[in-house]
């Protein structure tokens, strides 16, 4: 049972003017896999390190299971952390590395040995226990680092981009192992990454941060579907959401390029700008169709474009297109059988029900939540 609560947490480094973490509030429920996602420098690692007790909290309240942890040293918080560089003690064997945290906590030798052996078995590390880190492969080191955290049986696991030093294939398989591990241990985990695929696949919830502030928290698909602002819209999804400059029309419509789009259904009309005002129109690439399927034809609006580039990916094809009367290049994810060629003029179908509107200045969504 471990609930981590951050309430109005801020962090200022000595001598720095900007806040590294600015008024962040969220709660990680028991057994939840919370992913902190954001570009580098967004404050997610700092937040994690504050939870770990490696950085002082400048203001706000950090609690684990309701106990305020602000001034509790790292070693007394009953957390375990896996580092990006693994941070294995280079002068100790894999076994000693795993056992060391237990030794520090004065666990009896027999019990310690048993736990280490058990975890090593679980992670397929048994043959390598006698080796020092430099004699292990990257994946093995990663597993030792993981094992070092698991043997401790902590209340909370903290991961700081633990997969970023692995090659692509290993990253995928380790990702799956981590998911299984989470299911098996049922422990509370906080996981920092800048990789949206990891976030989407692993997280029970995702917590997206930008420039030190928390932007949006929610289950992966919800965040994907309803981004809180243009930052989230572009950060999640590959290729990212297309954002087009648009103008508000008098009626309940916006003008994009030469097309007039009806307002999406979820919109909060009270926050719309007045007619003639600027607005940002967002549409994901998969919501642009070369040949709209029958079930959504009623919701589509035509968008005449010029094709500038075609990228066949096998399972699908990406069209890079420029809508008429605009100079913005956008991406459409279309059927793999598309015959479009660069220079072609086509009319794409745009699923108006999937479109988003954002405030042009602040980037905040105009959707109703």
């Amino acid at each position: 049972m471990a609930v981590v609560t951050l309430e109005r947490i801020s962090k200022r480094y000595p001598g720095g003017d900007e806040l590294a973490v600015d008024d962040v509030t969220f709660t990680v429920s028991d057994g939840e896999f919370m992913v902190l996602l954001g570009p580098s420098g967004c404050g997610k690692s700092t937040t994690l390190r504050m939870v770990a007790g490696l950085e002082a909290v400048s203001s706000g309240t950090l609690a684990i299971d309701g106990v305020v942890m602000n001034n509790v040293p790292a070693k007394d918080r009953d957390i375990a952390m896996v580092f990006q560089s693994y941070a294995l003690y280079p002068h100790m064997t894999a076994k000693d590395n795993m056992a060391f945290g237990l030794k520090r906590r004065r666990m009896p030798t027999a019990e310690r040995e048993r736990r280490v052996a058990e975890v090593a078995e679980m992670l397929d590390l048994t043959p390598y226990l006698g080796r020092k880190p430099h004699a292990l492969s990257g994946g093995q080191r990663q597993r030792v680092a993981l094992g070092r955290a698991i043997v401790r049986d902590p209340k909370v696991f903290l991961f700081d981009e633990p997969l970023s030093n692995l090659d692509a294939a290993l990253r995928v398989s380790t990702r799956n192992e981590l998911i299984k591990l989470h299911q098996r241990l049922g422990a509370t985990m906080i996981y920092v990454t800048h990789d949206q695929v990891e976030a989407m696949t692993m997280g029970t919830r995702i917590c997206i941060m930008n420039k030190g502030r928390l932007v949006q928290v929610g289950p992966p698909l919800e965040v994907y579907r309803d981004p809180a602002d243009t930052f989230v819209a572009r950060f999640l999804g590959n290729p990212p959401m297309n954002l087009l400059e648009a103008a508000m029309l008098d009626g309940p419509a916006v003008h994009v390029g030469e097309s007039t789009m009806p307002l999406p259904p979820r919109i909060n009309p009270s926050r719309l700008p007045r007619a003639g005002g600027r607005i940002t129109f967002g549409i994901r690439p998969e919501d642009l169709y070369e040949h709209p399927p029958a079930d959504i034809t009623g919701r589509t609006a035509p968008l005449p474009v010029r094709v500038t580039s075609v990228e066949p990916l096998g399972a699908e094809t990406l069209l890079l297109v420029v809508p008429d009367s605009t100079e913005q290049e956008i991406v459409a994810r279309v059927d793999r059988n598309s015959t479009a060629r660069p220079g072609d003029r086509v009319v794409l179908g745009l699923d108006t029900s999937a479109a988003h509107l954002f405030d042009s200045d602040s980037g905040v969504t105009l959707d109703r939540h």
Binding site: R12, L19, A56, S58, V72
Partner: protein, 323 residues
């Protein structure tokens, strides 16, 4: 803008006092790291204060006094400085000798070292033996080097004159360290004997650390070894060479042992260096005054400071121009 607003909203204190307190807390989150800092640096700082900082300050204090044994100290203001600049030919001789040495020797040391390193890099046979033979002098103490080279320079049976005789150049025989024209150069030569191996090893390490691709690319560009040396290797290990030059320069500014044992600064002050002069005036002259030699030391302190700042500035400037 937003940050500041947010700060006040969040009630984070931004007063100078709060900043200071935050700073004192260090990056260790939860305990006051200041205690650890003090424990860790105090021994070093105490040693530094007692045996480096205090003596430096005291040197300046000394330099405006006459200091005789038995605590008989007399304040003389800037008299020593006036005397030094108006009436001390030996000091200027010593400065000029030292600067000559410090100016010339680094080029010899580093140049020879670089050439030797290139020879070894060219993968000659017996490279290991060569390296050992060339590096060994580095490890030998100056006292031994000095005695050894006094014998090598011996007029009657030293190696230098013996070699000249054996190739029929009797008239070139010299009292190498006994004549003002040759003494300083003979010492520089002996000094270079000791240090060339050091520079060789450092250059070799630097060359080995160069990315192989660049040298291969140069080969594809049809560079001969000489062009490769001039256009590729030397520019690429330039930081190392600069380091070595500065290191050698500093080393020559402090040279004492070799001179002291081999010539004692003679003949006719031709090998007098600032170190030997300070030592002589403090511990050999029959004046028993520690004040004047401290003045020499104080002036030299300033000279060295200027030289090093100048060198640093010079090389930094070049770097900026290049990149």
């Amino acid at each position: 803008m937003t940050a500041i607003t947010a700060t006040s909203e969040n009630g984070v204190r931004t007063s100078a006092f709060a900043r200071l307190r935050e700073a004192l807390r260090g990056d260790d989150a939860l305990t006051t790291a200041w205690g650890a800092v003090i424990v860790f640096v105090t021994p070093a700082l105490l040693t530094y204060a007692a045996f480096t900082a205090y003596p430096v300050i005291r040197t300046f204090w000394n330099s405006v006094h006459i200091i005789r044994p038995g605590g008989r100290t007399e304040f003389v203001g800037l008299d020593h400085y006036v005397e030094l600049f108006s009436n001390d030919d030996i000091f200027f001789r010593a400065v000029s000798n030292t600067l000559t040495w410090a100016g010339v020797a680094p080029l010899i040391d580093v140049g020879v070292g670089l050439l030797l390193a290139l020879c070894l890099y060219a993968k000659v046979p017996f490279a290991r033996v060569f390296r050992v033979a060339w590096f060994t002098p580095v490890l030998i103490s100056y006292v031994v080097v000095a005695i050894l080279w006094m014998w090598i320079y011996n007029y009657d049976w030293g190696v230098a004159n013996m070699l000249l005789r054996s190739v029929g150049l009797q008239e070139w025989q010299q009292t190498w360290i006994g004549h003002p024209d040759t003494a300083l150069w003979s010492l520089i030569f002996a000094h270079a004997w000791k240090w060339a191996g050091f520079n060789m090893v450092v250059c070799l390490a630097a060359i080995h650390a160069l990315p192989r691709e660049v040298l291969e690319a140069a080969e594809l560009d049809n560079c001969g070894w000489f062009q490769k040396l001039i256009f590729i290797i030397v520019p690429m290990i330039r930081p190392t060479l600069v380091n070595l030059l500065i290191l050698a320069f500093i080393g020559k500014m402090r040279v004492f042992d070799l001179v002291w044992i081999m010539t004692g600064g003679g003949p006719m002050w031709s090998t007098e260096t600032v170190s030997t002069y300070v030592y002589k005036r403090a511990f050999e002259w029959n004046t028993f005054d520690l004040g004047y030699p401290s003045t020499v030391a104080a002036i030299w302190f300033i000279v060295v400071l200027c030289c090093v700042l100048g060198l640093t500035w010079l090389f930094r400037q070049r770097d900026r121009l290049e990149y």
